[in-house]
């Protein structure tokens, strides 16, 4: 049957060009981390070596940023966002809140209007005045606040798709609201909570502007800021460290996305990532 598509050779040719377009800027990260003498060009290492990782691992600041600061900040953001978004979305979907649909729309509007670009100044002032400047809590709460609107939308969408008859059957069985939430709702929400949690984690892991603004103490900065300082602030970047560190720092994000993709497909990411 004739398909709506140009000839196969043309598609394949275009595919190769597109693949090259997307892969070329990334190729450096495939080789340089294992090259004992890397420069900024893409080159096959003459000898394969893990020395660059050795260098990074022995760098206390870099490792603390990655394994302590980033893990703690992103982990906290993940737990808080998932918990608060699940509760709020459940309340909005199944609860008795007047004007809940208008509320959701207004929230959507606000979250697209008050972007990081627009709100960085007042958030800085707010955190400063709350005495949370230069603390983990300041960055964590800000990131959670930023992640919540989208997370609530995703969760609400998810919950609205779950038949109410689950909870109604429990109501008729004699269960009270808290019991229904614990026994029936929470277990059925689990896949949605997982997706929101992963998205919150990945968002916090990659976030740069918020920790840059809110955490000045070099020992408390997460890997994103530490990495930027590796190449940005010090004039001459330590290319060996940059290459290996980039790989270590990126790996969790790639793995999590692959996990979500395998389980749920990428439809969840539409309208979410900014």
């Amino acid at each position: 049957m004739k398909r709506f598509a140009p000839g196969r050779w043309l598609v394949n040719g275009l595919s190769v060009i597109l693949a090259l377009f997307f892969v070329t800027p990334l190729m450096w990260f495939i080789f340089a981390p294992f090259d004992p003498t890397p420069n900024l060009s893409v080159q096959l290492p003459e000898t394969f070596s893990l020395d660059n990782f050795q260098t990074v691992i022995s760098n206390a600041t870099a490792m603390r940023a990655l394994l302590q600061n980033s893990v703690f900040i992103s982990g906290s953001v993940m737990v808080l966002t998932a918990a608060l978004a699940a509760l709020a979305a459940y309340g909005l979907s199944r609860g008795n809140i007047p004007g809940r649909d208008i509320l959701t729309t207004v929230l959507l509007l606000f979250s697209s209007v008050v972007t990081g670009t627009a709100s960085m100044v007042p958030i800085f002032v707010l955190i400063y005045n709350l005495g949370l400047f230069n603390t983990y809590q300041g960055a964590i709460l800000t990131l959670v606040g930023g992640a919540l609107p989208t997370s609530i939308f995703i969760m609400r969408d998810f919950i609205d798709g779950i038949p109410k008859s689950y909870e109604e059957a429990a109501m008729v069985s004699g269960a009270g609201s808290l019991r229904i939430f614990r026994d029936i709702a929470l277990p059925t929400l689990r896949p949605g909570v997982l997706v929101v949690a992963i998205l919150a984690f990945v968002g916090a892991w990659g976030s740069f502007l918020i920790p840059l603004i809110l955490i000045r103490n070099a020992d408390m900065r997460p890997a994103s800021v530490a990495f930027y300082q590796f190449y940005g602030d010090e004039g001459n970047p330590n290319i060996r460290a940059v290459a290996a560190y980039a790989l270590l720092y990126t790996l969790p994000v790639l793995l999590l996305y692959l996990l979500v993709n395998a389980r749920y497909g990428f439809r969840f990411f539409g309208g979410i990532k900014q």
Binding site: A19, P25, S41, Y90, P122, L126, G146
Partner: protein, 301 residues
């Protein structure tokens, strides 16, 4: 009006919503009003204005829209113009165009090449900002960068991209970075179009171009509108190019987001920075409203 019995009582629902509401009020609603009120003052982090900010009326705004020299390098007008070009080039032409092209190229195809292109585009999209920025820093390096090496194969002599073509560089960068979203959106829209539509056209004898123009394009209309609005909104607000060029050289790639950062959080002129933020929010509001209208009209199908 009789209230239907809900699964959660009023008290319980409020208890569920409150924790999230507190954080959203703090980090979304409060900043919104704070920006507006701060934009009429000369507040800053240090100096006399830090302790006793003065009400300065529209001064911050008149400074922004000082049409005498607002187009000079590093001024608001110039930054706005750079942003418009950036959005037009990287979002509307770059991401949406390329995304639509890829989605159609691989329409109803599930082979190795589709898998390869989609995976690479998505990796480009999800890798953290700082890493991507460095990747492009290396990619665009004037002496050993891959881009110049590749262009060298075609006999084009090396260029100093970040120094001589900073705006072109960040447009290319952002196209590469964000195409995956439009690609995925268009792909999912295309996959929901029943094959019988195109098969009917084929039976009638429509050419491929006619099939695209008369059937696919009209069916994709709202998706295209949605996509354009969303990526315009996001691209207008993105800060990531800062990591590549820092807004330079000499402000030639200073987007409005970077301009806000420089005024507000490097020079700590909170009042002036807030005035920029208010303008940004107004533009966001217009874009978001259009998006909501489109989303609404689409809901009932």
């Amino acid at each position: 009006m009789i209230q239907r019995p809900t699964i959660l009582s009023r008290r319980m629902s409020l208890a569920f919503v409150t924790p999230a509401a507190v954080l959203i009020i703090l980090f979304l609603i409060y900043p919104f009003f704070s920006i507006i009120s701060m934009s009429f003052t000369n507040q800053s982090l240090t100096g006399a204005a830090a302790r006793n900010p003065q009400f300065v009326g529209l001064e911050n705004y008149t400074n922004l829209f000082d049409f005498e020299n607002w187009m000079s390098r590093g001024e608001f007008g110039s930054s706005l113009w750079i942003t418009v070009q950036f959005v037009f080039g990287s979002a509307l032409i770059g991401q949406a165009g390329l995304g639509l092209f890829i989605a159609i190229l691989f329409y109803r195809r599930r082979d190795f090449f589709r898998h390869l292109v989609y995976t690479l585009a998505i990796v480009a999209w999800i890798t953290p900002d700082v890493v991507i920025a460095f990747a492009w820093f290396a990619f665009l390096d004037p002496f050993t960068g891959t881009l110049n090496n590749v262009l060298g194969l075609f006999g084009i002599s090396p260029l100093d991209w970040l120094l001589d073509y900073p705006l072109v560089s960040i447009i290319l960068f952002n196209t590469w970075r964000g195409t995956a979203f439009s690609m995925l959106l268009f792909t999912s829209a295309l996959s929901s179009i029943a094959p019988s539509y195109l098969e009917t056209a084929q039976v009638i004898g429509a050419s491929r171009w006619q099939q695209f123009k008369d059937i696919l394009l009209p069916l994709l209309q709202t998706t295209i509108a949605t996509d354009l609005i969303l990526i315009t909104l996001w691209t207008f607000n993105t800060f990531t190019p800062f990591l590549l060029t820092g807004g330079g050289p000499s402000f030639r790639s200073e987007l409005v987001s970077i301009y806000t950062y420089r005024i507000g959080l490097q020079r700590f002129e909170f009042g002036a920075g807030s005035a920029v933020a208010v303008v940004v929010m107004m533009i966001n509001l217009i874009l978001a409203s259009i998006y909501l209208v489109i989303a609404r009209s689409r809901r009932p199908r």
